[in-house]
Every structure is written in C-alpha cells, then in structure tokens.
Amino acid sequence: MDHSVAPDDAPRDDVQTLLDALQRGDEAAFDQLMPVVYDELRQLAQSVRRGPSMETLNTTALVHEAYLKLANHASPTFEGRSHFLGVAAKAMRHVLVDHARRRSASKRGGDLARVDLSETLVGGADTAPDNHVIALDRVLDQLASQDPRKARVVECRFFGEMSVDETAAALGISRATVNRDWQFAQAWLLREMSEPE
C-alpha cells in the first residue's frame, strides 16, 4: 500500500538562525539563506502569476510577505530586516528574471490559452517588461565582473526596491557611496543595454 505521507514543512527555524548569523556578519549565512528566500519568493511570485495575466509582481509586497513568512516569530529589528532585504534583493533578481524568461518563452510558444485571455493590449501579446529584466540581468553580470559592489547596489535598489538607507545598511557602505554607485550604474547599464549585442 502506498503510504503517501504529507510533504515536509520547510525548516523555518533555520531561517531565523541564519538571519541571526547574517546579522553577526557571517557571510556564509548569506549563501545558505539565498535558496530558502528564493524558494519562498518564487512560490509567492508564482501564485501571483496564476492570477489575471495583467497582474505583475509587486516586489515590495512580495519581499514583505516573504519576510513575514520566513521570520514570522522574530522581533523585526531594523538590522535583521536590512540583512534580510539584502538577501531578498538578490533572490528577487532571480525570481524576476526567471519569471520574465518563462513568460517570454511562453510568448514564443504561443501558449496563452487555458484561461480566457481577454486582457491583451495590441496584437494579443502579453505585455510585461520581460525584456528589460532579461537584458538587465545580462548586463548586470558584466557589471558585477567589473565592479561587484555596484552590481549589489543595483540588486538592492532595483530588484529589491530598497531605499538608499536600506541599501547602505544591507551592504555596509555609506549612503553617499550608494548614491554614487547607483547613479553611475544606471547610466552604465542603460548604455550597455541599448548597445546591440
């Protein structure tokens, strides 16, 4: 007889331990936390995706929710949240890029039906800024190889929708540096993105 046991619950307690470690400056915790946060965000994002096709991801809301779910019994200190946001920003980048890739793949495959699609703009194409995200992901890797800190700033500011202060706190750099990096990176990325491959 097939005893199908209920699936495991994610080990949520570990998340808190990792967050604590991250707060103490343990960089290895960042890498360990990433997949957990990514998974959470991806699941949240997927459930959004299943909604009406026009609803796009609201990053702040997703990150907020992921934080509440993962650190649900933690006292949400400012530091704890900053570190979490740093991880979430990177995770969010992956979520958004995966999401964009899947959608643009599905556009090519033409699989739009199953649900009734009445919400199409012109030409029946699904209309999310998927290409932005995919292109940005590509040039952001280039930026990271040149200047990793700037790439992290972009992840926080753009993908994590974090404020200057949040970014500074998460990365342990000054606000001025965040501002300078962000301004330069934006211009650089946009120029790289507009260049033909």
Binding site: Q46, G51, P52, H64, D116, S118, V122, G123, Q146, F184
Partner: protein, 851 residues
C-alpha cells in the same frame, strides 16, 4: 571597451561624476581638457552622460521606507492625496483623501491596512469593485502602498448611523422598516455576487441627509481578515463583538447567514433601542457567552422593561404602544433572524425582507410553522414511488456535482437513501414559491437550502448518511456557482463526518468537500490542514481522491512541485484501484488531466511531451467511460488541442478543437459559456499561428455566445471584442472594422469597469494602430496619449504596459511628423515587451530620427 582595467574603470567613474556636477554646456570642454589623448575614454564618458537623464527615469526609484505609522496630509497613495485622518480602526487607519491628479473632483475615504497579503487582496478587490448599487458605498479602487500595505478608496458618505438617524428624525415603525428593507436589498445584491459583509452594524449603515441608507465597508472585513492572516491569529474573530453571530464567536465559517444574523441585531436595535443581549458587565467573554447561550428577549417584551441605559426617547412610539406593535409578527421575524444555528435563520436577506413586507401587507409571515408542509409530507408518503422519480429528476438538473458524488455513495443502503431523498424532496415543497418565477436555478437553489435544514434535523442520528447527503447538497451548490452556500453546507457535512470513525468513507468524503470549498473562500490554511489529516486517515479507496484534490489545491497555492508529487501518487493509486474496480477509471482520467495541466504550465519541450501523453490517455479513458460524445470527453479534448498548438502542431490542434466544439454544442446547447471559452482559445491559438482568417469567425462565434450569456454589456464581451479588434488590426484593409470594434469595447468597459481601471485604456491604445494604417496620424496621437495617461494613472509610469503604450504613442508621433517628441517615448518603450514587428518599427523609427 578596449580596456577594462581597474584604473581605467575608476577614471571613468570619476570623470562621469565630475562632469555631472557641471552645467551641460561646460561638460564637453571639461572632458576634452581631462582626456586630451584618450578619445575612447572621452566617448565612453559622453555616452554615459547621454544615458544618465533617461536612466533616472528608467530605473525609477521605487524603494521606500517601511511602514510609516501614519500618512501625513499631502502624502500620495496611488492616485490619491491624503487630506486628513478620519479615524483609526482595528484594521488600520482611515484617511480623507482626494485625487492627486485633479482628474475628478471627488473626496474618498482611504483605508490603509496595517499589513497584508496583497495577492488575496487584489483578487478580492476586483470582485468588490463590481458592487454597483445605490445603497452600497462604492469601492473606487485600491492597491498596494509603496511599502506593501493594501489600501482601498471608498465612497465617502456623509450621514448618520441608521439608529441615530431614526432616533433624530423620530421615525415611526413603518418608516424604520422601510429604511431597513433598503438595507436588506443592498445586502441581498451583494450576496448574489458572493460578497458577504461580515460586519454589519449601525456605524456601517449610514443614512444620508436625503434619507438614503448606505452600506459601508462591504466585504472589507473579509479582506482584512484574509489579508492579515500573516500577522495575526484573529483572522476570523468578529470585529465588533456586540454584533457578532454565534458562528463568528466560535471562529467558524462565515456565510450569508452571518449577515442575516447581523441584520437581525440591527433590526432589534432599530425597533427597541437596545441590543438583543443584556449584560451585567461588558467583558468580551461575557458578551460571547451571551451570544452563544442566551436566548434574546422578545422585542415586544424588552421595550416595557425598565429602561436602564436605553434611551426611550429614541423609540418610534411610547413603550406600551410599541410593545403591542411588535408583539406577534415582528417578534417572530426578529427572532428568526437571530437564531443561533445559521440554518434556522432566514435563508437570505431577501427572505427576511420579504417576510417584513408580508407583515406590512397583512399577509401571513414565513417565520411561523407552516402546516401545509405537513400535509404535503403525508401526500408524499402515500405516493412514494412516483415522487421519488421526480426527485431524482430534480437532482439531475444540477449536473456533474451530483454524478461525481453519487458514484461515491456506496456505503448507505439503498432503502436508506430512498427515504432520505424522499425527506429531502419535502423540502422542495416547503421552499418559498417553488413553482413560480420560472427560474429553474433559483428553484433548485431554494430546494437545496431547505433540504439542508431537513437533512440536519431528520438525519441527526445517522451521521454517515447525513454527511454524505449534505456533501451532495454542497457539491450541488458549487455546481450552481454558489461557493458561499456550498461552503456553509460542506461545513455542516464535515461536522457530521467528524462524529464518524477516522477512515470512514462518509467522513473522508464530507471533510474533503469542506477542504475544497474552503479554497473558494481563500482559506488555504484550513484546506491544507484537513487534507493532511485525511491523507493519514483515509482508506485505500479514498486516499487517491484526497491526493488528487490536494494536488490541485497545492497547484493553486503555487506549490507546483508538491502538486505534481501528489498527483503522481494519486495516479499510481488509482491505477491499482482500477484493476479491482473499473468504475474508478473516470477518477484516473481526471487525475491524468490534472497532472498534464501542471506539466503544461512548465513549458519545456520534455514537460510538454509528458503532458501530451497524459492528456491523450485521459481523453481515451473518458471516451471509454462516458462514451465519445460526452462533454467530459470534449473538454478534455480541447485541452489536448491546446497542447498540440503549444507543441506547434496547429493542424492537429484545429481538428481536435473542431471535434471538441462539435461535441459540446449538442450537449450543452450552442449558447454555453464553455463552448465560448473553447472557441476563444481556439481563435487565440490560430491568431498566434498567424492565421487571422481562421481566427476571426471563431472569435465571432464566441462573441455571439457571450453576448447571449453575459449580456451585450459585459466585461467578457468587451474582452472578446478587444481581442478580435487586435486581430483585425493586423489584416490589411480591415482597419475600419477594427476601429469600430475598439469603439464598442471602449463603450462597454466604460460602463462595466470602475473608473481608473487599466482595461479602460486598452481600446484607445489599440485604435492607434488602425488609425496610423489609415493615415490618420493626429487621431492616433490623440488616442495613444489618452491611453498613456490612463495607464500611467492606473499602473504607474514604469509598468510594462505603460511603456508599450509609450511605444505606440512614439510611432504615432513619428507618423504625425513630430519626431523629436517621439524619441523619448520610443526609447522608453524599447525595453518593454513589444511584438517583434513593433520593436523593429520602433527601432527603425528611432534610426530615422537620428539620421
């Protein structure tokens, strides 16, 4: 980039920053001075400087501070600007706000929740936005604040709470009842749209100076409860204890009957100036105990009691006279609305209102026991055989739900069931006006409602049969498109099931129905918990059903991998069962179909191959079980067709769709929503495959059906028109047709969608295409600008759709000979998801401007 050395990189950075400090005119000279012999570096800095102003806009700064406690006057929330605070409730803060863009002169009440689950909020909001009733305060819109908190904008109502209004104007009993009747109608209107208020109380029923009662916060309590469950454990606890129904106090399912109860409390207070329970102390625990255990004093008795804290000057007439007026009918009506057991109350707000008007007209009221039903029962006893046949006929009306569940009824003896059905049938004759109205669905629905009461009462000592039959009723409500009723009946079934030993078929059946109906209320938590319990206790025969249902629910929760794990287990176990019991083949087919859908969502070639194989088997099995011409087979086949199209096999897809439609039409009739859905999907596939000629007639057929089913003015019809218009835009020579269709879509959206909804911008955006093709560039510019403004408003400047609209506007501006204005729009749109043609066109236009 010739040189990527760190030195050069820092130099680039430094020069960029320094140049940015300078006035634009001075930058060239500065760079020339700094890089006299490095033209490459200079060019690179210049390129960055050129990109910089656009980059600001491109990567708009969207991050914000987390959750500020309150929004200061002047703060912006979506399209609104806060002008002041109105109050603070358990759910969050209510502000007075106005449109920040001056687009409408309108003040709104803006509720900002403390925190929440935006997904549920968004979908719920769409339903609420469609409540359009003169006695319900409108939900204008809502969204997520930059820091992730849901908010909504509601019609700002100036007035007095209904009880205060009645007192101040010294309304007599009749005037109070008339006011109350309007409230009931509004509540009934919302219930028909499956929205339960949950928090009806005087402060949520305001009466305007003109004397119009307005219900505030419809469905808001549910939104709050559901969106907050990440933060609090009091999701289902009543917001206002004094008006809470017993089921709310117990933390049980909230249904339309809960609102009927709250209406009862409101009526009690309106007529007597007091609330139903007199309490020595105001502690919450005492209040809750009273609600659960104490029978309220009859209104006619309470008004002559010593006033205590009640203010007798607010009463319609002096107490002795009022007591006489209330005794009898009004006592009965109020008490029936206030019954502890939801099933004992009026079945709807409408029923309550009708009984009040019967009272006013001097007709006998329903709240009293009817002796006619007793006689009918006798009649049926004597004519059992013939009557039973027609009872089955009635049950067959509700379709699949019955079929599916009746198949599972293997436990109770035939004779038991026949008798139970007989008793259920009595309910049909007891239900209000079963023979008039001509609306079959209403009759079946009323029939089901009264059978629920009957099953609860008469089968109390046979929980297995009770649980099974209540499950049948619940599934029938669901089949009729009434998930709220289904849920409340399923809750009763589950309760009956709990009395049975774990693993009993009836218990598993009833509880899994309840787990299923909970998901329609967004309560995935309860659902998951029940499924997990059932997985450990269900019998070998029932477990695959549980795995299958839970698999579907997990998929809806976004747990695709877990969903597939459960569905695979379900399939394995069904295959084992089928060997012993061929009747389970249909269940196997459904599980195969479900797993195929899950694979299809993944989109990789290997997954699509798996989906194809599974779906083919599902179709084959269904054809074997139901016969080739059954709608079940046709629906499974249309999914197979979609898969074929995804795999690029359009000819196969066409022939499968064709067979699906030609099977569905005779079965459902040619005017059925399912037929329209299949036609619409078929059209979309053909359009995607570039076959506009083939797609158009299919859209037209879908359109005709939807006009007949949903009415010509419906979102569904507008969506089909929009799709068809977009298709014709690409067909040379059909531009005028496309324009006319966009116009129609726009008209409909304007009448059925709330103001500011993004869909209302789509037809205008669409029109730009055919207008350009016709050489009417100025009109194209006008329409595209309007669409852009609406989309910016509704979705924000950075949204992909908004950016696409900028591309459309840019192209129109180029056509209109305004290339310089076009440039920023085209550039902004390049990153958005345009079709390949649009992208090429935008790029070409940009190149031309530059040349």
């Amino acid at each position: 980039m010739a040189d990527d050395s760190p030195d050069r990189w820092s130099r680039l950075e430094a020069l960029f920053e320094q140049a940015l400090e300078l006035a634009e005119a001075d930058r060239a000279a500065f760079l020339l001075r700094e890089t006299p012999d490095d033209p490459d570096l200079r060019a690179e800095v210049e390129a960055l400087l050129t990109a910089q102003p656009d980059a600001e806009g491109f990567f708009a700064d969207v991050a914000r501070q987390l959750a500020p406690e309150a929004l200061a006057p002047g703060s912006r929330v979506g399209p609104y600007r806060i002008t002041g605070a109105l109050g603070q409730g358990g759910m969050g803060v209510v502000y007075r706000a106005e449109r920040a863009d001056g687009q409408f002169e309108r003040e709104v009440a803006l509720k900002v929740l403390r925190a929440g689950d935006p997904r549920r909020f968004l979908s719920e909001r769409r339903i609420l936005a469609r409540l359009d009733h003169p006695n319900i305060a409108r939900l204008y819109g809502g969204g997520i604040t930059p820091d992730g908190r849901p908010y909504f904008a509601l019609e700002l109502v100036n007035g007095l709470p209904i009880t205060e209004y009645a007192a101040r104007h010294q309304l007599d009993v009749e005037a109070r009842l008339a006011l109350f009747a309007q409230v009931c109608e509004a509540v009934q209107y919302a219930h028909r749209r499956l929205v339960v208020h949950r928090d009806i109380k005087p402060s949520n029923v305001m009466v305007t100076p003109e004397g119009t009662p307005m219900l505030l916060d419809f469905g808001v309590a549910k939104l709050v409860a559901e969106t907050e469950d990440g933060l609090t454990l009091t999701g289902v606890a009543p917001l206002t204890p004094a008006y809470a129904a017993p089921e709310q106090v117990r933390g049980e399912a909230v249904t339309t009957a809960t609102d009927v109860y709250a209406l009862g409390v409101l009526l009690y207070e309106l007529l007597t100036g007091r609330r139903p329970y007199r309490l020595a102390d105001r502690a919450r625990a005492a209040m809750e105990r009273a609600i659960l255990e104490t029978e309220p004093t009859r209104p006619s008795a309470v008004v002559t009691e010593p006033a205590g804290e009640a203010d007798t000057t607010t009463l319609p007439v002096p107490p002795p006279q009022l007591a006489r007026r209330l005794a009898g009918d009004l006592d009965q009506i109020v008490l029936k609305a206030l019954r502890k057991d939801p099933g004992d109350r009026y079945g709807s707000a409408d029923a309550l209102e009708r009984d009040l008007s019967r009272h006013l007209e001097g007709l006998p009221i329903e709240a009293r026991p009817a002796s006619a039903a007793y006689r009918l029962r006798r009649f049926i006893r004597r004519h059992r055989a013939g009557v039973l046949a027609s009872a089955l006929g009635v049950l067959l009306l509700v379709g699949w739900a019955i079929t599916a569940t009746v198949q599972n009824q293997r436990v109770a003896a035939e004779r038991d069931r026949a008798e139970a059905l007989n008793d259920v049938l009595v309910g049909l004759f007891e239900s209000p006006d079963p023979t008039t109205g001509g609306d079959r669905e209403l009759t079946v629905s009323a029939f089901l409602a009264s059978s629920t009461d009957r099953l609860q009462r008469d089968l109390a000592d046979r929980p297995a049969l009770q649980a099974e039959l209540l499950s049948v009723v619940a599934s029938s409500h669901l089949g009729l498109g009434d998930p709220i009723r289904a849920d409340s009946v399923a809750a009763l079934a589950a309760e009956a099931g709990r009395e049975l030993a774990p693993g009993t078929h009836a218990r598993t059946l009833a509880r899994s129905w309840y787990a299923w109906t909970r998901t329609y209320q967004g309560d995935y938590e309860t659902s998951e918990q029940i499924y997990r319990e059932l997985l450990t206790e269900a019998s070998v025969e029932d477990r695959p059903d549980v795995l299958n249902d839970f698999g579907i629910v997990l998929g809806e929760m976004g747990e695709a991998k877990e969903a597939r794990r459960h569905l695979r287990a379900a399939i394995r176990q069904f295959r084992a069962l089928v060997r012993r019991d061929p009747a389970r083949r249909a269940d196997l087919a459904s599980a195969l179909d479900n797993l195929a859908s899950s694979f299809e969502a993944e989109q990789t070639p290997a997954r699509l191959d798996s989906a194809w194989v599974l779906q083919q088997e599902a179709v084959a099995i269904k054809a074997e079980v139901y016969g080739a011409d059954h709608p079940q087979v046709a629906e499974a086949m249309s999914e197979l067709a979609g898969l074929a199209a995804t795999r690029g096999e359009q000819a196969t897809a066409d022939s499968l769709y064709e067979r699906s439609v030609s099977t569905l039409e005779p079965a459902y009739g040619s005017e059925h929503p399912t037929v329209a859905t299949v036609l619409n999907n078929w059209a979309l596939r053909r359009a995607n495959a570039g076959d506009a000629d083939g797609a158009e007639p299919l859209y037209r057929r879908a359109l005709a059906i939807r006009e007949a089913v949903y009415g010509r003015e419906s979102e569904s019809v507008a969506g089909t028109l929009q799709n068809l218009a977009a298709l014709l835009t690409q067909v040379p020579g059909r531009e005028t047709d496309a324009l006319a269709l966009f116009d129609r879509a726009e008209e409909i959206y304007a009448s059925v969608m709330p103001e500011g909804h993004y869909l209302r911008a789509f037809p205008a955006a669409g029109r730009a295409g055919p207008l350009r093709a016709l050489g009417r560039a100025d009109e194209a510019v006008r329409d595209a600008s309007r669409a852009l403004a609406m989309l910016t408003e509704a979705l924000g400047a950075e949204h992909g759709v908004t950016l696409s609209a900028r591309g459309i506007l840019g192209l129109a501006l180029v056509d209109a000979g305004r290339p310089e204005e076009a440039r920023p729009h085209l550039e902004a749109s390049l990153g958005a998801s345009l079709t390949d043609d649009e992208r090429r066109e935008a790029e070409a236009a940009l190149a031309e401007i530059d040349a």
